[in-house]
Every structure is written in C-alpha cells, then in structure tokens.
Point group: C2
C-alpha cells in the first residue's frame, strides 16, 4: 500500500503553522483537544486507506452503468460510504445541536484530504451529502430538518445539489424547471437537470435532491429562483420511506475521469412515477421563495473550498507516488559520468528534481491555501470580536475563488508533472498518476468554472466592495512580509511586498477604466496573478513557521519556498503588465476571424 | 461530419508563406506542381475524413486486446491503413529510385496533418512504417532493401522502431538485448523490449522490427549498440512469408490515450518459436556494427518533427471543434445585459474568445513551426549551394527539439482549453476534445521526453557546436524583424529582437559558467524560452505573409500574432532571468527533503 498523503505535513500546517491548539481553546471547539484531533485524523487516514483507496482504480475501470432503471456502481462504494458515515464523518462539521461533532472546519478539511487523496470518486457521495445537510441546517424549516437531516448524517439518505439544466450551466439565471404550489403547502416540480453528481444510485434508501426551480410568476433571472428539497422516495411522518416520487433519470454522462461519482441527467415530474396518483415531483420549499440562489450561495464558499481541497488531494497523492517512483527507478547517470558506472535513481537527475520540487510547491502550497481558508471559516464561527469575524468573512470572500481555482489549475499541473516523472509508465494504467490527472481535470469546470471564479474575484469581491476584501488580504500579506524582514527570508519578503504593491496599483488601473467590459475582460488573468501572489505569501508563512527547525522536513519547506519565489512568483509580472496595459485583443476580437 | 483541420491554413502556410511553388521548381521536386500538390492534399483530406476519422472514438473505446497469442484491433484500422497505402502515401516522401513520389517533406507533412487530426492512433501504424522504411533506404544493404522495402511501401508489411527496454527508456546506453553472429552472416537476437508501438497486430502479413542490440564484446554505452532488422515472419528469397521468427509478446500496455496504436512489450529469442529448429530471433544487421544509434538518429530529426506534427494536429482539431461549439452553444449574456435578453453564443464572452484565440495562436504557431522544419528538410535535400544546405541542416538541428517539444506542450495546452470552452460537455465522451487531450499527453513523453529535448537543444545543439546553430537561427529571426521594422508590426519586431538579444546574452552566461551540471540543470527552461521566441518569430513571419490581405482569414493571422506578442512572448523574460541567475535550487536539492 503506497502512502496517499502526508500525515506529517497536515500536522505541520494545523499545529506548527495555524496554531490549531489555540483554536481548540475557544468555546465553540472546547470539546476538542489535540488528542481528539489526532484521533479523528488517524481515523480518517485509516478509513481512507482501508475502505476508499483499494477500489479507486476499480471504480474508474468499471464506471457507473445505467440500465434504464437502475444505476450500478462497484459494490465497494457502498461499503466505503457506510464506513465513512458510521465513523461519524457525515456529521463531523455540524454543530452539536444537530448531532454533529462540531469539529473545526480546518481539522475536518484535513480529514477530507485523506478521503479525496484515496478516492475522490467515492468521497464525492459523502461531500455532496454533507453540503446538502449543511444547507438544510441553515435554511430549511425545522420540520424538514427533523425529517431529513438525521438519515443523511447516518448515511441512510444521500444528497445532491441539482442546479444546472441542459441549456443553463454556468448561467443559472436561465433555468426553467417549474415548481407549482399545491394546496397542502408542498410544490410539484417539472423540469430537466444536467450534470447532477450522485443523482441516482443504490447506495442509500433515499436520495435528497436540492433543486433550483421557478415558481409561477417569478421574476426573470436569478431573482426568481427558489430552492426545493425533492426526495427520490417520499418520506412518511414516521420517517420511513414510502411512495416513489416522480424523479427519474434521462441518462448518465460518461466522463474522462472522476468516474466513480456517477453524473446524471435527472428528470423531475415527467410522469415516470405518480405520487398521490398523479405526475409531478413533490418538493418542499427550502428558505424563502425567490431567494433560492442566495441560499445556495451561502454554501458556495465551503463547496468551492471543498473543490480546491479535492484538487489538492489529487495533486498531493500524485506527487508522493511520483516521488516514490523517482527514488526507486534506476535510469541513466548524472551529466559527465561514463557508461560503466551504475545507473542512478531518477531523483538524482536535476530535471526530475525540478519536476518533484515544482509539484511539492504546488500541492503543499495548495493545501496551505485551503486549510487557511477553512481556518477563516473557523474564525468566523468562533471569534468573539465582531470586527475580527467581519475581517475573517471579508478575507474568506476574496480567497474563496482562489482556493477553488488555484489548486484546480496547479495541482492538475502537478499531476501532469507526476506523469512526466514516470515517463511511459506514467501514461499507463499500471500506475495511478494518469487517473489522478484525468480525475483532476474536472475541478476547473465544476462548482463554477475557472472563468467564473475570475469574474467572482475581480467583479464581485474586488471591484464591487470598494477594495475592503483586497485591503484585508494585503494587510495579512504585509504582516507576513514584516515578520520575514531581516531574516534569511528577507529577500522573499521584499519580493512579496513588491508584487503586492504592483497588484494593488494594477487593480487601481483596472478599476478606473470606467469600461465594465474592459475591466472584466481579463478577470481570469487577474485571478491567476492574485492566486500566485497568495500562494507565495503562504509559502513565506510556512518558511516562518519552519524557522528554528533544521530537519529534513523543515528543510523541504524552505526548498519549496525558494522554488516558489525563484520560479513561480516571477510569472506574475507579465500578467500584471498585461492587466495594466488595458489590452483589448480578446475583448475587441471579431469572432469571425477565429 | 465536423471539420478536422483547416485546408485554408495549410494553403496559406505552404503557398502564401513558404512559397512552395518556388520549391517545386527545383530539380528534385520538378515532377510536382501546384496542381499535383493540391491533388495530393485533397486526397489526404478525403482519406483521412472517410477512413480515419470515423473510427477514432471507436478505437479509443475498444482498445487493443491481447489474448496471449493475437492482438485484436477494431477492423476499421486495417481498412484505413490499406486505403493509406493504396493511395501511395507510404511511399510519398521517398525518392523515385525507391518507387516513391518524391513529395517535398513540407507537403507530405501537410498531408500527414490530416491523418493525425482524424485519428492519431491509426496513423501511428503508417508513420512507424514510413520511418522504418526511410531508415532502410539510407542504411540497409541493397538486398535487405530489395526484400523488405516494397512490401512496406505497399502496406503488406508494417514496421516498428524497437529501442527501449524495461530498464532502459530515456537511457538507451543501458540496453542489453544481445545479437549473436551466425555463420551465415545473420544474427540471432535475445532480449526484451518495452514501449514498442505497433509491436504486434494482424494488420499486415508481416511486421518489420528495427531493433537496437549489442553484439558480443561491444563497448559499453551508446558506442556498442547495433541496429538489426528482425521480421516477425521470415521472408523467403522469392519474397513470400515463410517460417515464424522467434518474436513474441510479453504483453501490451494499457494507456490513458493514443489507444488505437497498440503498445507492446516484445520478447526476442525466448523460444516461443524456433526458426531453423532453434530459439533465437533471426536478425539482419542494418548499417555498421556498433553504429546503430547514429543510424537510428539520422531518422530522429524527422521522427521528432513527426511527433510535433501529431501534437499539432491534435491541438488543431480540438481548436476547431471547440470553436464550432462556441459559435453554436448559447450560454449567458454579456456583462451588463439584463436577464430578459436572449442568451448569446459562448463566443460572445471575452474569456471564451481568449481561450479560442490562445488555442489558435498555439496550434497555428505549431503548424507553422513543424512545416518550417519540414521545409528545411526539403531545402537540405534540394538546394544546390553547399553552404545553403549546411545552413538548413544547422537550423534543422537547433529547431528539431523545439518542433518536437513546443507543440507537445502547447497543443496539449490547447486541448486543455478546448475542454474548458465546452465546460462539462468537454469532460464527457460525447465530444472528441477529452480524447484529444488524453491522446496528446503522450507526445511530451515518447521519441525523447521533454527533458531530453532540453538537453539536446542546450547541451548538444547550442553549447557543443560553438553557437553556430543558434547564430543561424538568430540571423533568420533578425531578418524577419528587419522586414517588419517600419510596418504596423514594428513594435513586435522590436520586441522580438529584444528577446533574442536577451536569449543570446543569457546563453553566453550559461555557457561561461564552467560547471557542466549547472549549465544543463535548467535545460528545460532554456528549451521552453527558446521555443516561445521561435514561435513568436514564426507568428511575425505569418503577419508579414498576410500583409496586404484584408479578409477575415488574414485578420485572424494578425489577431493571433497580436495575442502571441502581448500574452505569450512576455512569459519568456522571467525564464531567461532565471537562467541568467545561475539558480541552484533544483541542482543542489537534497532529495531527502522531498
């Protein structure tokens, strides 16, 4: 069994860097201690290793199959989701009032990293259920929570998020699924959804869909969208599953990767079933009518950080596997050594070390980023000072599109390098790295594409809020640079401060253009430049946390920091120059010349 | 049937830019004319469209299967290879003395682009056979040519290149396959090979393996390697196939992509068959003993340009498919337009146009690069002036690692963007782009990995030859910049000249370090920086060729040039700064800290 993730790095990030022990002293997390956190991390590692990793390849090779009635998965998925729920992980992040562990989000993120690294396809079922349950606790009426939450937390019911439709993916404003109010206060839903992960399967007694739909007369666009809970099987007052609801599948999608998580095209209300004797999918309003999208978006930060974490875990496990291969595989000799000398391990070649150190800087940087964001979630939930809570939320807003997109881009790049380290072997199914690469390619697409994250960062989080979020970020970056000034990392502190200054300057140029189209035309470049700056900052943070420790592990942190500052952060300058130039090449492009 | 490649762009490159009509006036190509070239290009397009494209997905889904005796492929592969050979393409690049068409390499490259774009898995069988046949015409004894060439050119026999072994991939110095001389002048081979494309199948009566092996007492390393022709089935004096040779398969490799081309692990001489009553694979020496690697390397330039062409074709076809999708698919509205307005095509969004224009700049830039290199092959074969021939060969040496690696990197990036343009749809097997991405991921690995290309460029082509090759390249770049000075592209000319100056300066710094390990530690970065400079130059060349034409096609050339100079060439500066800095981060890295 190969190592799938680094326990040592998780400990470093949580305890040597993020000072999770002080977090555990706050009232909200007072039931936890270093010991209980260690225990839950070990439990996650063990279940991930024993129940998730072994069928990762099998679930890829034997992808989900739909026979017109039933979705078939490899049986190991059910066992794994069961083990996950039985250990209490479904409820781990929830508050005690909902029967949860009230585990800090940052600790829970570290746990989930194990499951994603082991088998991202299977962990998808758990993740969606938790996101769904979490939303219910915030927005659903008590009687809905009463009926649906406990079975979801125990794994008897699993959940979905049913947003997209065949003609409305990135643009949810255009969804057309109808929800017709009934005399008894319920609704009947009619419409088709698309790209719905875990939309049907036999893993659980029931599937709880959270569905975006329009009520009659609702305003056009995003302000006329409501949120409904639509179970696959209706639930009786005593909690038992009863009649089949009018929810069916039009089919499933066959993906390049991430195959373990079935992706479906569900149909609501087309008469495949007739609950109460007539067609129409019975649904229950969640929250307020026409406020469905904001309700969904309260979960979006965590869902997007979750995508970033999944991307990170895939990058991380690929890195460790390519590292293990490079240490063992003999191939060639160093420059200048004759053919009579024995071959050396791949890791002895500078270009291979470059590919490994690049991966390390991407995957450990990404893990720091997502755990930092999770820690901000914890701070927002546990700090006393309202100003400190507001600052954490502000920062979280700015960092979320980066936490989603940066790992999706760079941990995919890490998987690409992992294949390259293995060479031809990496291109075959004899090794895991090709699957990680295929799996990870989903992450820049779902939960808001890469381009959507750019618009979110620049359009909503930076330009709309008058710079407050960016200012909060800049303050934290400057604080780290100040701490590093005068140390061995002083030149990195200067470099970081200088790139930050330039980003702020360029942001001012972009904001002052007055042309909204031009301001947003290169939002993706803005996202990528800011992302690299943020990860450079988090590498400096890690360098500072490693100070005073001279062992191989901490030397590795310094080497990766050095790598990031010498070879990655310099990539930002041409991006910022482009943004400052107000270039209109793509904006003004006549599509006919393509 | 979707468009798989741009006939218009091929015409532009061959006739508006490379002035192929003047090439056709040279004695070597005098049998050809614009009309015959147009005919052969149309024939390639037609056979690729009718016989190659239709089974591209099928050959991916139903990958080659080995039942212990026989390799099974989908039947369409055989028909396609037959149609290719029947049309005379196997012999097209060969001289008339070998029954070939004596077609210019640049024109033949344009033909092959159609086959690769349609189905790179099937075209692999043809490509290997042609490379093999081409090598035989240069190095094999007349009686071997007599016996094997015609059946290969007619498609009755297909070929392989059997270099790698299980323990020797990038490092051919370590191969151990033995070749024992026999009294009759033949050899008997014993050993295992690995990663051998097209190593077994039922497509042809026979398979002609070109095998690297060592004779008894040969020197260690690359100076003790000889080249042998080893047929799967022995060929009688009358040309008929006779006894089965001692060549068998240990198994086949299951790849992420490029599945149509079976990849095998052949075994020579383990007694699976007993030609002449005893084990040992009968082989015939090709060329001179111990000079096998140089013989193989005489074909390497063209093989590597061929890989670049395949990568280009995959990028190109993905671009065209994502463009067609972006023109049709309605999604969202421009910034600032309300929800009551109708949705617009994807191509109306600036970020989508960015992704399309980026692809265009990569794939058309790559196509220009590989055809330019093929034109140098033609010049070397057809120019009268020995100095001009020498210059063409010098340039070809410098440009070949770039022609192999740049398309492999950036046309894969184009395929990544093609997926992103399609979003979730692009991640499914309902569309071709995910397959192109998987197929293209092979190209940075085979025929010399990306890292090997960097060592070839910097170590062999730049540092070892005293700068002559780089000087020839610089002269051509400066000539283009001079022509552009004072035109609308004047600022690009300045930018190009300035990056070239910096590259030459940095090359001097690297060359003068005196530390061979340090000089080569960042050869990959050197390769990537030089590649971007070269493609920028070729974009300026295309701009110049488009001058005076104001239609959409030529406007597209200008838009892509603008894109490359504003958004791609600036990426080179930090790479060159890194090289100039003599950074030792990866070179000095202690592998234990990874």
């Amino acid at each position: 069994m190969s190592v799938i993730l680094s326990r040592r790095d998780l400990e470093f990030l949580l305890f040597e860097w993020l000072d999770t022990e002080s977090l555990l002293e706050r009232p909200r997390f007072a039931e936890h201690s270093r010991d209980t956190v260690d225990d839950v991390l070990r439990l996650a590692e063990q279940i991930a290793t024993d129940h998730f990793a072994p069928h990762n390849r099998k679930a890829d090779l034997e992808e989900p199959r739909f026979d017109g009635t039933t979705v078939h998965l490899v049986p190991e998925v059910k066992e794994a989701v069961r083990a996950f729920a039985d250990a209490g992980f479904m409820a781990a992040p929830l508050g005690e009032e909902f029967g949860g562990m009230q585990l800090p989000s940052s600790v829970f993120g570290a746990c989930m990293a194990w499951f994603h690294a082991a088998n991202v396809g299977t962990s998808g079922y758990a993740l969606l259920t938790m996101a769904n349950a979490n939303l219910l606790t915030v927005h659903a009426a008590p009687e809905l929570v009463e009926r649906f939450l406990e079975p979801m937390l125990s794994g008897r019911f699993l959940g979905t998020m049913a947003l997209s439709e065949p003609h409305a993916g990135s643009n949810l404003a255009d969804i057309t699924t109808r929800a017709e109010p009934q005399d008894d206060g319920t609704f009947r839903l009619f419409g088709r959804k698309m790209w719905i992960s875990a939309g049907d399967h036999e893993l659980s007694e029931n599937i709880v869909h959270l569905v975006l739909a329009r009520t009659p007369g609702a305003p056009a666009g995003t302000r006329g969208i409501s949120l409904f809970l639509v179970p696959k099987v209706l639930v009786e007052d005593d909690g038992s599953v009863g009649e089949r609801n009018d929810v069916a599948l039009a089919g499933i999608n066959h993906k390049m990767g991430f195959r373990g998580t079935v992706n479906t095209a569900p149909v609501f209300g087309d008469g495949a079933f007739t609950p109460g004797g007539r067609p129409g999918a019975v649904g229950y309003l969640v929250g307020t009518e026409n406020r469905g999208l904001p309700a969904m978006f309260t979960m979006m930060n965590e869902a997007r950080i979750g995508v970033g974490l999944g991307a990170t875990a895939l990058g991380y496990t690929g890195y460790l596997k390519s590292l293990a291969y490079a240490r063992e595989r003999l191939q060639g000799r160093p420059t200048g050594v004759g053919p009579d000398a024995p071959q050396v391990p791949l890791v002895e070649h500078p270009d291979v070390r470059r590919m490994l150190l690049a991966q390390k800087s991407y995957v450990e940087g990404a893990l720091a980023l997502v755990l930092y964001c999770s820690r901000l979630v914890d701070d927002a939930a546990s700090l006393d000072d309202p100003a400190a809570v507001a600052e954490a939320e502000l920062l979280l807003g700015v960092l979320t599109p980066i936490a989603k997109s940066w790992p999706s881009q760079w941990c995919l790049a890490a998987n690409d390098l992992a294949i390259q380290v293995l060479g031809g072997a990496g291109y075959t199914r004899d090794h895991d790295v090709e699957q990680h690469y295929r799996d990870n390619r989903l992450n820049p697409i779902h939960e808001g594409t890469h381009g959507i994250q750019g618009l979110d960062l620049l359009g909503r989080k930076v330009l709309l809020d008058g710079g407050a979020g960016l200012g909060a970020l800049a303050a934290r970056i400057r604080a780290a640079a100040s701490r590093a000034t005068g140390t061995e990392a002083g030149s990195y502190a200067d470099q970081l401060a200088s790139v930050l200054d330039r980003l702020l300057e360029v942001t001012g140029v972009v904001a002052s253009s007055g042309d909204q189209q031009l301001m947003l035309a290169d939002a993706t470049t803005y996202l990528e430049a800011t992302g690299h700056l943020v990860v450079a900052w988090l590498w400096l943070e890690q360098w500072l946390a490693a100070e005073g420790h001279a062992d191989a592990f901490h030397d590795g942190k310094r080497a990766a920091t050095r790598y990031f500052f010498t070879r990655e952060l310099p990539k930002v300058a041409p991006m910022l120059d482009l943004l400052a130039s107000g270039d209109r090449t793509t904006l003004d492009l006549d599509p006919r010349v393509l």
